[in-house]
């Protein structure tokens, strides 16, 4: 019983997060300017990290925790670098 409750709930959460990824991709494609795309990419990283966590719960595996942590850190680094690029035109001066 509790297995089926978890199965249904976590699958629903995965579907919702997948829809969120689709929305992020729409904003990345449509634009209109570069900062919108960077913001949408930041949200894409965040939702990808949440998908990794939820999928780890669904499979009952510990293995998906470290990828989630790495995705979160890479998202931070990428967004900071891109914001700096938008501001200065180069990342490392």
């Amino acid at each position: 019983m509790s297995v089926s409750i978890l199965e249904v709930g976590l699958t629903a959460a995965l579907i919702l997060l997948g829809l969120a990824l689709v929305c992020c991709c729409l904003r990345i494609v449509h634009g209109p300017r570069a900062q919108d795309r960077v913001l949408a990419m930041d949200a894409l990283y965040l939702n990808g990290m949440l998908i990794a966590v939820v999928y780890g719960i669904r499979t009952g595996s510990d293995l998906y925790f470290e990828p989630a942590l790495v995705i979160g850190m890479l998202g931070f680094a990428a967004t900071v670098a891109l914001a700096r690029f938008l501001m200065r035109g180069e990342v490392i001066e």
Binding site: A12, L17, L39, A43, L50
Partner: protein, 121 residues
């Protein structure tokens, strides 16, 4: 304890937390595609970055604690890291956008450029 021995109420709590976090995250991203200007949009995904993230990580902690008897909150690592970094990235991004708007001599509240049909998907 294994997965099958999780009590029903705890499974229900975990499922509700996960669905709630995912729904809040989707709501934030929905604002990302619906709101008009960039300065509105920059606020929307933080809904998923704070409360949505917290709910899903709480569900993860409860599940692994109950199913595998591992109550050490590893998820706290992700939570603290995201809480610290999200404001930094968004402030940097907003400042870059403001700089670009000023140097390109367009008005700060840029006119919303409608997406195709501007309909939610």
């Amino acid at each position: 304890m294994t997965v099958a021995t999780i009590p029903h109420w705890l499974a229900l709590i975990i499922a509700v937390l996960a669905v709630g976090g995912a729904g809040l995250s989707l709501l934030g991203v929905f604002g990302l595609i619906r709101l008009g200007s960039f300065y509105d949009r920059v606020h929307a995904p933080t809904l998923g970055a704070t409360l949505g993230m917290a709910l899903i990580l709480l569900a993860s902690w409860l599940y692994f604690g109950a199913a595998q008897d591992r109550w050490l909150p590893r998820e706290l690592l992700i939570a603290v890291f995201l809480t610290v970094t999200t404001p930094v990235t968004l402030i940097l991004l907003a400042r870059a956008a403001l700089f670009r708007d000023r140097t390109e001599a367009s008005e700060p509240g840029e006119k919303p450029v409608p997406m195709d049909g501007d309909q939610p998907t």
